[in-house]
């Protein structure tokens, strides 16, 4: 044994952990609790900047002002479309888990989300009542619509591409690179490209429609198309990661199964449906949940392409938090919304964690 005095294992470990623990505590844990604390105050950004005592403890008032209203009641079938979707989700989760095509944790996750979808939209202002914040729930709704189109859009196209590109040849690897390339661009480059692509006067899409005698659509300022335009730009941008994850998942499926199936005449689409999909369920759920977490936090695309418009149809949660905090200077209310965002994201992260731990 060496004779020089040295650090014990514990001391060395803490020394190595120190840089991480300091930054982590200072820039993540502390801000998180501070955010909760701000959300319990009436906190004006400018007033508090000039006078630190200009804040007032208001308890849960901010949450009430954001999420609740005057004379709120609950009734069945207040929002039939969402609630029917929820009921279908419940039925689907029971059916799929009975069939054994869905693991129990996936089924529980789908079931819980669906039950919430049936229950929550039932709240609405009664006669003479109103929401305290008229924009909050529509904003959450827009965010869900965005997630509802972007996630299946990305997942389905990435899955099909991955299945087609899953061969180790030079041509396929070049094609994979081409599809992945847009993923490394920044959100501001993506919105720059698509703003001009969608422009009714200068846009490539408009130029092509005009050549074929069509009338160009004013994508970004038309209430019907603005969200669609943002979803298209997003799918184009963020297909890459999903495709890479699917390719990794496909590598794990043994070639023997396909060879055995080919003997039974299952090739192409049939092999994809009966072999690839069932063997890929875990990867699919990981990708879907990652995408939900990612796209629920959408900010740059609507902020830069449509500024939340026209008529608030593309206003999303993070942009509303940003505006409430930094344009209206109402940090208390903005923080209450941020805590709401965290709770939703957190529950999806837990589902992701559980699925990640599950063995195939």
């Amino acid at each position: 044994m060496a004779s020089r005095s040295k650090l014990s294992q514990t001391q060395a470990a803490w020394l190595l952990l120190a840089p991480f623990l300091v930054t982590y505590t200072l820039f993540l844990i502390y801000p998180f609790f501070r955010g909760v604390w701000i959300s319990l105050h009436d906190w004006n950004l400018l007033a508090v900047a000039f006078n630190p005592d200009a804040k007032e403890f208001v308890g849960m008032r901010n949450y009430e002002r954001v999420m609740w209203g005057k004379d709120i009641t609950w009734s069945v079938f207040n929002a039939p479309i969402l609630q029917t979707l929820g009921l279908m989700g419940v039925a689907l989760s029971i059916f799929l888990s009975r069939m054994g095509r869905l693991s129990s944790s996936n089924a529980i996750a789908l079931g819980v989300v669906s039950v919430l979808l049936v229950f929550l939209p039932g709240f609405h202002p009664g006669e003479g009542g109103r929401w305290y914040d008229r924009r909050f729930w529509p904003t959450v709704g827009n965010t869900l619509v965005f997630v509802g189109f972007a996630v299946p859009g990305v997942t389905i196209s990435a899955l099909l591409l991955a299945a087609a590109l899953n061969r180790e040849t030079r041509a396929m690897s070049i094609l994979r690179t081409l599809f992945f390339l847009s993923q490394v661009l920044s959100v501001t480059v993506v919105t720059l490209i698509w703003q001009i692509m969608f422009s009714p006067r200068q846009g490539l899409i408009a130029n092509i429609t005009e050549t074929f005698g069509g009338t160009p659509i004013n994508w970004l300022t038309d209430q019907q198309f603005a969200m669609a335009a943002i979803v298209i730009a997003t799918v184009w941008w963020s297909l890459g990661i999903a495709m890479i994850l699917f390719l990794a998942g496909l590598q794990d499926i043994s070639k023997d199964i396909y060879e055995a199936a080919a003997l039974d005449n299952a090739k192409g689409a049939r092999a994809f449906w009966f072999i690839t999909l069932p063997n890929l369920t875990r990867t699919i759920s990981v990708v879907v949940i990652l995408q939900i977490i990612l796209h629920f936090q959408v900010f740059g695309q609507p902020h830069l392409m449509t500024q939340g418009g026209p008529n608030d149809t593309t206003q999303v949660l993070v942009r509303y938090i940003y505006q409430t905090g930094f344009r209206d200077s109402e940090l208390g209310r903005a923080s209450a919304m941020a805590v709401f965002l965290f709770l939703i994201m957190g529950s999806f992260s837990i589902i992701q964690f559980v699925i990640g731990r599950e063995k195939n």
Binding site: Q9, F32, I196
Partner: protein
């Protein structure tokens, strides 16, 4: 290879080309004169071929305006953040993977919980905190908050766990200290994993938008990502479409080059971060 394979490649080339069209169009527009673009953006084959051709937009970018400064800022911030994340993640990752000490499990659990906190949920308190320190509009304000990312620690921890224990144990028996083992034995072995983490962090830092948007209010502290956002709203009037597109190309060039060179590492990082994170 059989015939159906060639049909597949051909069939996939069409969507791949369409996928590339928006980017190609940006590049092509950046090489066309602003006067022409003010009239039409579809001069030659819907504007996808840069004719009439000019270098002027790029020359203008680097002769006046703040683009060179923003470009430099992006490099400083991205490199600073990359070095910071490497330092924090390798040290903590090694300690958590290979050493025994009290409260180890508790720290792991706290890290896992940290993975669930999205930056969008903490940017307001971070803003007030940095405002109290008087730190906004500086490089360290842009770098520091992003160093607290537990995902890097998990990536490094997984890597260190996979290294066989005998090398380390032999060194221990010779009386080498823990810190020396870390520095001289483990770090050189960890180079591929550090590479992966570094590239991922660089890409992330270069493209970060929300935090720079609230923290850097003075234009001389803008990153190129933020600067591009600030000029794109008025592209048609003041700057000229060609010049804005040239900024977009310049802003993308470093990350695209980095990606094309180190593709293997990027793909590895995304697979590891996606399925395990």
């Amino acid at each position: 290879m059989n015939r159906s394979y060639y049909w597949l490649v051909l069939g996939l080339s069409i969507p791949a080309f369409l996928w590339l069209v928006p980017t190609l169009w940006m590049v092509s527009l950046s090489f066309q004169p602003n006067e022409v673009l003010a009239r039409t953006t579809s001069s030659t084959f819907f504007g996808l071929i840069p004719l009439p051709f000019t270098w002027d937009n790029y020359a203008a970018l680097f002769s006046f305006g703040q683009t060179p400064k923003w470009f430099l800022n992006s490099f400083i911030v991205a490199i600073g953040m990359t070095l910071g994340v490497l330092l924090v993640s390798t040290t903590a990752g090694y300690a958590l993977a290979r050493m025994e000490f009290p409260f180890k499990r508790a720290i792991m659990v706290i890290c896992l919980i940290g993975l669930m906190v999205p930056e969008q949920a903490v940017f307001i308190p971070l803003y007030t905190m940095f405002a109290e320190f008087g730190w906004h509009n500086s490089y360290h304000a842009l770098i520091l908050p992003r160093m607290a990312v537990p995902i890097g620690v998990f990536l490094m921890m997984q890597f260190f766990k996979a290294i066989p224990k005998d090398i380390e144990e032999a060194a221990r028996l010779d009386g080498v200290t823990w810190l020396k083992i870390f520095w001289y034995v483990m770090l050189p072995l960890a180079r591929p994993a550090m590479m992966t983490l570094a590239i991922l962090t660089f890409l992330y830092a270069w493209n970060d938008y929300l935090w720079p948007l609230v923290s850097a209010q003075q234009r001389e502290y803008f990153t190129i990502t933020l600067g591009l956002a600030s000029i794109q709203s008025n592209f048609a009037q003041s700057e000229g479409l060609g010049r804005v597109m040239a900024s977009g190309v310049i802003a993308s060039l470093p990350v695209v080059i980095l990606f094309l060179i180190f593709q293997r590492y990027v793909v590895q990082a995304m697979t590891a971060g996606g399925s395990k994170g």
